[in-house]
């Protein structure tokens, strides 16, 4: 009976499946011209962002419309701690943790007052928070250099390996994506995931079952913010320039769209959604003027056809593992 609920994986197949895909992506990366490679980098970055936001939106059912704030905090961490701005030059690995940590902290600090709000109100407050952070980045000239942004950020070096080319970042991002993927999958399968799902399905009943919903939501918020922060650090390292215009409300929406189009609460959904939302606008470049119009139409059509996303919640990694393990 339990084997049905929680299949024992065939470890060889499981490991093969887990390693094969990232390895394949890396191999492909070596043969790609640089432009598609950069696009691939962006897809992976947004996939990780999607995985992070999914914890809050997909698992816990809380709409966060200000996710870009955490991304911005991460990006500015690297920009401030590894540039000539204050002449601080910390190592990349350390800032990755600082950025993620600061973002997580911001998530928790924001979460404490707002997480008792429900649904739409939470969405609106997070939206307001996202905008406030962006306006602060734009206005605190002494700290962030305001609208001019911070240029000439250090090249990232990870244990002697300098991240310079898009291919370098592909390695980093594939690694990060793998870690994030395993992490969110683990959350989904663990007691925390169960608690988050209960919060999503029926908050009151969840509390009736003894779930401290506020605290569980806080954990989700903080974790997701941390992932957003880590992505921000990497984004700043890739661009070597940050300015407030990279962190508009539109970015938050794109990340929400990544998971909603791909499939809420499904890690595969974030991967598919990121692929579509980054790739489609690039492919539509040929249409120039009609690009955004078509993009908007495609969005509406996808949502009308599959309101719960392209990949249903149930067909996640656990399902795949069952298929592989049982097959």
């Amino acid at each position: 009976m339990t084997s049905e609920a929680h299949p024992r994986l065939n470890p060889v197949r499981g490991a093969a499946a887990l390693l094969a895909v990232p390895a394949l992506v890396l191999v492909i990366g070596h043969f790609l011209p640089t432009y598609p490679l950069r696009v691939l980098d962006m897809i992976l970055l947004y996939a990780v962002l999607g995985l992070g936001l999914n914890i809050v939106v997909g698992y816990a059912g809380l709409l966060d419309l200000g996710f870009v704030a955490f991304y911005a905090i991460g990006a500015y961490s690297w920009a401030l701690l590894a540039s000539g701005q204050f002449d601080i030059h910390l190592p990349f690995a350390l800032v990755l943790f600082i950025g993620a940590g600061l973002a997580g902290l911001a998530g928790i600090l924001l979460g404490i007052p707002v997480l008792r709000l429900r649904g739409d109100y939470l969405a609106i407050v997070t939206l307001g928070f996202g905008e406030i952070i962006r306006v602060l980045m734009n206005n605190l000239d002494g700290l962030t250099n305001g609208p001019q942004g911070i240029a000439r950020i250090d090249e990232a070096t990870l244990f002697g390996w300098t991240l310079a080319t898009p291919l370098d970042f592909l390695y980093l991002l594939v690694g990060l994506l793998a870690v994030a993927f395993l992490f969110v999958w683990r959350i989904q399968e663990s007691a925390l995931g169960t608690a988050l799902a209960a919060v999503r399905e029926d908050q009151d009943a969840a509390r009736g079952c003894g779930i401290d919903t506020t605290r569980v939501k806080l954990v989700a918020f903080g974790t997701s913010a941390m992932i957003g922060g880590a992505c921000g650090v990497i984004f700043a390292a890739m661009q070597r320039f940050v300015s407030p215009e990279s962190f508009t409300f539109w970015e938050s929406l794109v990340i929400v769209l990544v998971i909603v189009v791909g499939g809420l609460g499904n890690p595969f959904g974030a991967l598919l959604g990121a692929t579509l939302l980054i790739l489609v606008p690039e492919l539509l470049r040929a249409w120039a003027d009609y690009r955004l119009l078509l993009y908007g139409m495609a969005l509406v059509l996808v949502i009308l056809a599959r309101p719960r996303g392209l990949i249903a919640r149930d067909y996640g990694p656990s399902w795949l593992m069952r298929r592989l393990g049982g097959g």
Binding site: A191, L192, A197, I211
Partner: protein, 279 residues
């Protein structure tokens, strides 16, 4: 075990529950009956923390429930079912039950997420859920989505979810509402089977046959106040109760009929299950 001590709930000008005091003892089934609007559900919702308490105390053992946040009430040993089913529709039946067993506190949660507590603890929780499902005849549905089950089965899943965490007090809010005869019969058997020395069960129900068949003591409420309490026979004899149910002659007939049938089967020991607090 569960004690209401001068409990009042005020909704604006309306006193939905007005200075109610009684105690529910472990090991038996206590029914709370009364016409619509009598305050039964309000009472349950206050005990479960869904409503705040305007004044008075609700105690499980020495713990004052009205001071606790809602989720701590569950930790204090009180669990409930809902009048309108409130299952986690999008989750499997098994997961629905696992929710009730999620460890509390951040540290255990984080430890569990990273697999630090090992598989054993999670396995043990899962086994427990399976055991309860088996007991309630739901084993076959463990992997089904709760929302996809038939109404009667959903009611049972809710019951399973309420008992899997081994509560000391179990509040059943109209468990038989909407069930057909066969399902009600099945439910009756399950409730009786759940009777245990350490468990105080409170049953709110409109189905008088079911009440008379399984409850050991009865509290009658009307207009927010306790009108009468006692065995089925006491209740039947109470003129105030008859007045309250005037216009519902069928109900009073049910009470009488059921009480007659029951007297022969169960002998209720005096003084057990119901204690009076005179205002």
């Amino acid at each position: 075990m569960l004690r209401f001590d001068h409990v009042t709930k005020q909704f604006g000008a309306l006193k939905a529950v007005d200075d109610v005091s009684f105690e529910v003892k472990p090991g038996i089934i206590t029914a709370v009956i009364g016409p619509n609007g009598a305050g039964k559900s309000t009472l349950v919702n206050m005990a479960a923390g869904s409503y705040s308490v305007s004044s008075g105390r609700i105690l499980v053992g020495e713990v004052e429930l009205q001071k606790l946040p809602k989720h701590r009430i569950a930790h204090a040993g009180l669990s409930r079912t809902y009048q309108n089913i409130r299952l986690f529709d999008g989750m499997s039946v098994l997961k629905n039950l696992e929710v009730a067993l999620v460890p509390s506190g951040i540290a255990p949660l984080v430890a569990d997420t990273f697999g630090l507590t090992g598989r054993a603890a999670a396995e043990a929780r899962r086994e427990k859920c399976h055991a309860v499902l088996a007991k309630l005849g739901l084993a076959a549905y463990a992997q089904r989505n709760a929302g996809s089950l038939a109404y009667g089965q959903q009611k049972l899943v809710e019951l399973a979810r309420a008992v899997v965490c081994e509560p000391r007090v179990l509040l059943l809010d109209e468990p038989a509402a909407g069930l057909n005869h066969g399902e009600t019969e099945q439910l009756k058997q399950h409730i009786l089977a759940l009777r245990a020395p350490g468990l105080a069960m409170v049953l709110i129900e409109h189905d008088m046959k079911l009440i008379m068949a399984i409850s050991d003591t009865i509290v009658v409420m009307n207009r927010g106040r306790v009108l009468a309490q006692g065995t089925a026979a006491d209740i039947r004899a109470n003129t105030e109760v008859q007045e309250a149910y005037l216009g519902q002659p069928g109900a009073i007939r049910d009470i009488e009929a059921a009480a007659r049938g029951r007297r022969n089967r169960v002998r209720l020991r005096e003084g057990e299950g119901l204690t009076w607090h005179q205002p």
